[in-house]
Every structure is written in C-alpha cells, then in structure tokens.
C-alpha cells in the first residue's frame, strides 16, 4: 500500500509499504530518519518515541497504515535549523547523554512533558519518563536536564 503522512512539517509518501510494517520501520528504513531507535519493538523501552498528531507514542507499535494522513514529528524535527531545542541542549549539557541510544525517545517524551507541565515536580518527571529505559546514565542527569529545560523554557 501507499502511505502518506506529514513528517516534521513535510509531506512524505512511501510506496509498496507492507501492512505489517510499523511507523518506526517506515521512518527508519524508507524515509531515512533513523533518529527514532529500534531497541525492543514491544513498546517497552521508549527509544522509538515520536509525536503522532501531537501525542507521544511508541512508533514501533503503530501500524504503518495507522499513520495515513497524520502528523508525525520525530527527534530530527525538534531543532529549529541549527538551533537545538531547549531539551536537546539541556540533555547534552547536563550529562544526560551517554551511549545515546535511548536519548531521542527520552527527548521526545521530555519535550512533551514540559510542554504540558510548566514546572514538573521530580516525582512527575520520574513517572512520566518511566517508560523510557536508559541503561547508562543512572537517570539522575536526565532529571537534571528536564528541570533545566523546563526552567529555560519557562523563562523565554
């Protein structure tokens, strides 16, 4: 089948998409957007998160056909030109990035959190990010990064 949807503001189409492909597969393998990572394909780790019509979801569990006509925003679409988003900046700055494989998914989830909640509490951050596994950092610096990004965002 042919699937057409908007990715990071641009309309994209993929042809000969097999029904069993996931949105993650289409993004990574067909559209050349491997920023969203494939780490479990079960929705268990959050590495593949993207916005679907403004709502963060695990792209690995979205059937390709379900994306038809919708708006997708990936980690590649968060920066404005050369200017990183506040969350991206804060992750790099706070030491919240190590191997980097969980980072794109975490950034999408954190981006959504501080868009909804201006100054999330530590408990809110921990719970909101509980579906994004990280095996390197020990989480603490991710918490710092979300706090910092929220502070900066609120200040602008």
């Amino acid at each position: 089948m042919r699937v057409t949807f908007t990715v990071n503001g641009r309309e994209e189409s993929a042809d000969n998409v097999w029904e069993g492909e996931s949105l993650l597969y289409v993004l990574r393998e067909r559209l050349g957007l491997p920023g969203s990572k494939n780490a479990c394909e079960q929705g268990e780790c959050g590495s593949c998160m993207v916005y679907l019509d403004g709502v963060p979801v695990c792209a690995c569990l979205v059937a390709a056909g379900q994306a038809e006509g919708r708006q997708v925003r990936t980690v590649e679409g968060l920066a404005e030109g050369d200017r990183l988003d506040a969350v991206q900046e804060a992750f790099a700055e706070c030491g919240a990035v190590q191997c980097g494989f969980c980072t794109p998914g975490l950034i999408v989830q954190a981006h959504d959190l501080i868009a909804r909640v201006e100054r999330p509490s530590d408990a809110e951050i921990r719970e909101a990010l509980a579906g994004n596994l990280c095996r390197c950092t020990g989480y603490e610096k991710i918490l710092d990064a979300v706090r910092l990004a929220a502070r900066r965002k609120a200040a602008t």
Binding site: P56, C58, L61
Partner: protein, 331 residues
Amino acid sequence: MKPFAYVKPADVAGAVRAVSDEPGAKFLGGGTNLVDLMREGVERPDTVVDVTGLPLDTVDQLPGGGLRIGAMVRNSSLAADERVRARYPMLSQAILAGASAQLRNMATVGGNLLQRTRCPYFYDPAAACNKREPGGGCDALGGFNRSHAVLGVSGSCIAAHPSDMCVALAALDAVIEVESVRGTRRIPMTGFHRLPGDTPEIETELAPDELVTAVELPPAPFAARSRYRKVRDRASYAFALVSVAAALEVRDGAVTAARLALGGLAAKPWRAHEAERILLGGPASEESFARAAEAELAGADVRPGNAFKVHLARATIVATLRELNTGKGTA
C-alpha cells in the same frame, strides 16, 4: 509477522461487517498488545480491522450520574477526565498504574478490556500453552509461575489477567456494550471475562465478530472515596503481582458500602463478592478486613512460585481498606 490485509472502516457498521465476512479478522485499537503479539507470532490474523478511526472516542454523561466511555477513548484521556477523577478515582488511579505514559497515550479502553496474559509460555511459541494451542499442555504449571493466578485456575491454565483498568471496572459494576451484525448487547463487566476451565483460549464472552463499542459506568456515590493499590516489582511500569480496587463507606464505625476487586490473582479481574459480603454491615476494623480477605482467598490454589500471592493479597487488601477507613498511609 504473518502477512495480513489492513482495512480501516469509518463507522461501526462497516467495522462489524468487515469481521463478519472474515473469520480470521481481528480488530486493532491502540496496538500496544495486538501488534506485539503478532510480531511474536502468537496472534496471526489474516485481516486487521483498524477501529481507531471510529467515532467512539468521547466520554459522555449519562442520565442519573453515570458515564458512557467510548471504546476508542485513549487510556490517558480517560484517566485525566475530571469526572472520572472526581467520581471514580480508583479508575483513574488504576489506569495510571498501568503500562507507561506513552503506552497509555496509545491504548484504547476497548483494547485494554481485551489485553491478553503476560504468561511467558503463552508468549513463546516454542513452549506448551493451552491458551495459544488448545490441547498443547501448560508449561507454566511446573515452570516459572511467580506472576500467575491463584484464584479460579484450572489444570489447563494458570495465566493471570494483566489489566489494571479492568480491576477497577469490575469493582464499579461497569457494563460493556458490544456490537455485531446481529445488533447490540450489553455484558456486565464481572461476567465479561471467563475463567480458564478446559478452554483457556476463550477469554471473554465476546463473540469473535463482536466489537466493544462502549463501557458504561453506573452512578456510584461511594466510589468518590475509592482507591486502586498496585503491588509490583518496580516502582512503575510493571504488571501487578497483586492489585486491589476498593471503595469503602463507613458510618458510625460500621461498613455501609464496600466494593472490592482484585488484580493479578486470576484469569479475570476478580470481584471479591465474598469479602464484600463479610465487610458489609460489619465493623470497619483491621480484624474484619482481615477476615474478609481470608474468606475471599480461601479457595486459592497455589504453586511454589506464586504461593506468596495469598499472603500478599491479604496484606494489600487489609492495607487498602485500612487506608480508606482512616484516610492515612497513602504516601
């Protein structure tokens, strides 16, 4: 994943027609469970009927104070609904205790009702599983069964139902509305899921061609004071070892209304009728709570791996009722 045809009907009539023609068809909601199971080769539909486009995504007020929840309402929306939070806090809490934020964004109410067990032997096509392959045997009986059921089990299956939301719905006497080409019918939540018996592959009263369209919550004033307590191996993002949905109304030290349902203990959300019977009219005391819990759990059938669940369930029931009674200890 086995190849399949994908269709996305725009209305309920189209959706139920699509499956009535097609014995190997499955409805697809948020995909958080079905897509995973298809990838594992456990579910192998020929046709997938995507119902996420159906206009069943609102929560509506019912005359008399109840709520009607469309089957396509996302779990996160339902948990955040102010009416649910105020009138049925246990339901909001139960949903928020399930899965992760991103999965709750995807999962639908209808899909959550039809979640399948997390038994590892069900998930592994190399293992024996009566639920996956009727008559194939059950490797869980003598295998890893720490997370398995202790109530209502059979010699053919001891899998536990994984949903949190369903436990609250069972306690709240929800009614499930389903539709097929034959029309609409209503199934009480407490009778919606089945115990395994000799046919663990049949998990609900739903016919293969029936679509869940809505869940209705009757008015329940006592439920404003209710609680969902989930005990699990991590602080978040793990299935329940035991969970308790409870509501308690106490006047002058006596219980005037009680609702209790248990998760993680059976193949279905377990409405604790026996415990409710003992609680009702009795004193709101630690002893009475313990007696009620013990009565409900008296029929437990345990294995070495999950024997702890009886003790854990008792402790969790008592702690939750105590908390509702005293208003303390929620921290």
